[in-house]
Symmetry: C2
């Protein structure tokens, strides 16, 4: 177990700043890596198509391995293809502090989602190597397999098996649209490694990522201190009315599934707004979906999120109540919860290290919760974890137009480095099990 | 021009009843024809697939021609494939009274939509032939080409060219999904006839059809006296918001196209209900339509109908106003009218003949407007016209489960016969032009 190394005199911010003063990441070098790897699977519109375990993924993995080994790191690969580049610390008895994210992208993904978290880690290793600075803990830079879930569902598969959330056999059996399994795809690109999945234990993990939302940009903050990941519940709703002729069915005898679905959409918005959470109907299908036919059936999704599981319970209850109320009319409704993820609070010490790091550089920052899932949310189950967000233009992500500035990427990488250094000095290392 | 032959003493209901007393259609014979022809293109689920100008359409046309000729009728076909079976009247100077509908169906159509109107006409010809009754006017039983518009768009094509609504060249050029034109398809089944389209002029036309709505069934009426066809306007609405992440976009900064579309759906319902008309959003597409993405774009249809064009103008204005109001928010909306059909009022004398016929048999009836388009709505532009509706189960139509009883079909056919007889005696014939 880890705890604050209180009263040693070197854990105050001034001492930390002294150490950190000499360690400045090279923004241009980081930007150069981002642009260089963006060409691996680069699209005409300036995005990246680098699906998990594809030939493009193999190429970026090879690039990553070569760069890490050039810095003197030993690179190991586990059975899920997760890659670990280890830089020794002063104390070989300590578990490593992990940094990293993922190098795979959406089919029409951007240049920053995931990639930034890995390449900022590489930049940190370079900075440490250039100044010959050695941390107390070893450091490990991680590239997690299939975070996006775009080729193989579900998302965050590599970190999920690492954290014991998914069984390895389940993960190996997942297939892409062409029926190719994860296992086959790992072998095809030569990235099924020999290390047992989950055998690499972390003293902590820090993940830098773009926000994928508009909050930081809207408030002109450079750094998001991520306190956790919102709880999330996914529902399927089926509204069953009666298909009938738009010309000959009087308004008062209709059983219009879409009119009721529309009413529900308004109620979902009201529930989320009242609770200070989020509620979204993102998917909706109408049957028969013909201009002159009163809709007989609507199938729709409801996505509810909140930073507090009790509030999420209350939102769920309110949704059930509205569904029951609407079902008293001439149309029937069914509600099925298909998935839920509880709130994942990040580790207080890790979050505190991120906050201190942002403060040290004077970056305008705010605390927030992640609305999206991340590898860090899986890792949080097995190690103290936190995340750092930087803004991205208009919150746009999973899109070739995804955009961040060099300055934002640099601020994120610097905060990541400083958070690791602060944590490295503050925390008494855990002994290997 | 035609007018009531007032003061001749034989136009009162009693005199009409005397004539009609001997002329009773044979319900079983009619039902037999319905079931026999339902086998031509019959589906496993009890419906009919008999697309316009298909091989199945050729077979039912051949069947129809043979039956009509067996009754001594001369069958002619015009250039659009519209079929006319003429039974001479007492006065060869008079234009014929037309009865009929269409024998084509939807891809998964029912056994009654259109077919009933033609086969009830055939049953009427048989009844007249069996009793050797001769009307003053010639009668003409019509099978209109491509009423459904399922294979070739638009619908009501044959009657549309007949009435001068569509140009023949336009109609010939319409293509099905395989690129086969109407002209080619007519030739392929040997039903491009030699008669100039529109050359057959009518003293009047009566069309029997299933209601395709629930009003008659709900009110337990056997006969609908159709006073006209509702006016109809079709609009396309595009709602443009901003696609964003469902987890990381706060409710207050969203530009959710579906939330606004849902609001509009409620307003369309309110507009229609307040005006005593009909308003339907039957088609709606969400982009990107992904569970965890706030919808960026919604494309939807709006269908407005009313029996009064002035009310339809007011409904349109209200829709424009609501679109403008919603467009003041963070999402933009556009409204495009893509099609309109004005109200088609049927001929007062023809409607009166239908009402007298229903009363003569003591059938419970009500006056109503047709919500759907029909060949009669086209013919109304060139001849006095009315329609007769019978109930169908739950208003279901364009569906293999479309259903009517033998008694309902018989009541419709009897009313059709009696309306023709009443009109034949009441009206001074128009002279051919």
């Amino acid at each position: 177990m880890s705890e604050f190394a209180g009263g040693t005199g070197d854990t105050d911010l001034e001492g930390e700043l002294h150490v950190m003063g000499n360690l400045k990441i090279d923004a241009d070098r980081l930007w150069g890596d981002l642009m260089e790897t963006a060409a691996i699977g680069g699209t005409a519109k300036g995005g990246i198509r680098r699906l998990a375990l594809s030939e493009e993924d193999r190429r970026v993995r090879d690039w990553f391995r070569t760069r890490c080994e050039a810095l003197g790191c030993s690179v190991t690969v586990d059975g899920m293809g997760n890659m670990f580049a280890v830089r020794p610390g002063q104390d070989p008895e300590l578990e490593p502090i992990a940094i990293g994210s993922h190098l795979d992208t959406q089919p029409t993904g951007g240049k920053f989602d995931g990639v930034l978290g890995v390449l900022a880690g590489l930049e940190i290793l370079r900075t440490l190597e250039a100044t010959e600075f050695r941390t107390r803990h070893p450091l490990v830079l991680v590239n997690w397999t299939n975070e996006e879930g775009a080729r193989f569902s579900p998302a965050m598969l590599g970190s999920g098996v690492h954290a014991g959330k998914f069984d390895a056999a389940y993960a190996y059996g997942r297939e892409d649209a062409d029926g190719i399994s994860v296992e086959t795809a790992l072998d095809a690109i030569g990235y099924r490694g020999g290390e047992p999945v989950g055998s690499m234990r972390f003293a902590a993990m820090f993940e830098l990522h773009i926000e994928q939302g508009p909050i930081l940009e809207d408030e002109e903050r450079l750094i998001g201190i991520v306190e956790g990941v919102q709880g999330m519940r996914w529902f399927d709703v089926v509204v069953e009315g009666r298909e009938s002729h738009a010309g000959s069915t009087p308004m008062e005898t209709r059983r219009d599934a879409l009119v009721v679905a529309a009413d529900l959409i308004g109620r979902v918005t009201a529930i989320a707004t009242a609770a200070g959470g989020k509620g979204t109907v993102g998917h909706l299908e109408v049957e028969p979906n013909s201009r002159n036919v009163v809709p007989g059936t609507v199938r729709m999704s409801v996505d509810l999120r909140h930073e507090d599981d009790a509030q999420l319970d209350a939102m769920t209850a309110a949704l059930e109540q509205q569904i029951a109320r609407l079902g008293e009319g001439p149309v029937s409704l069914s509600l099925t919860e298909i998935w839920r993820n509880p709130v994942v609070p990040f580790d207080a010490d890790c979050v505190s290290a991120v906050a201190a790091a942002a403060e040290a550089s004077g970056y305008p920052s705010r605390r927030l919760y992640s609305g999206a899932g991340h590898d860090a949310a899986n890792v949080a189950a097995v190690a103290p974890t936190a995340m750092i967000f930087i803004p991205c233009r208009e919150g746009l992500s999973h899109n070739e137009a995804e955009s961040c500035t060099l300055e934002e990427c640099a601020a994120g990488a610097q905060t990541l480095l400083d958070a690791v250094l602060i944590y490295d000095r503050r925390i008494e290392g855990a002994q290997p099990a």
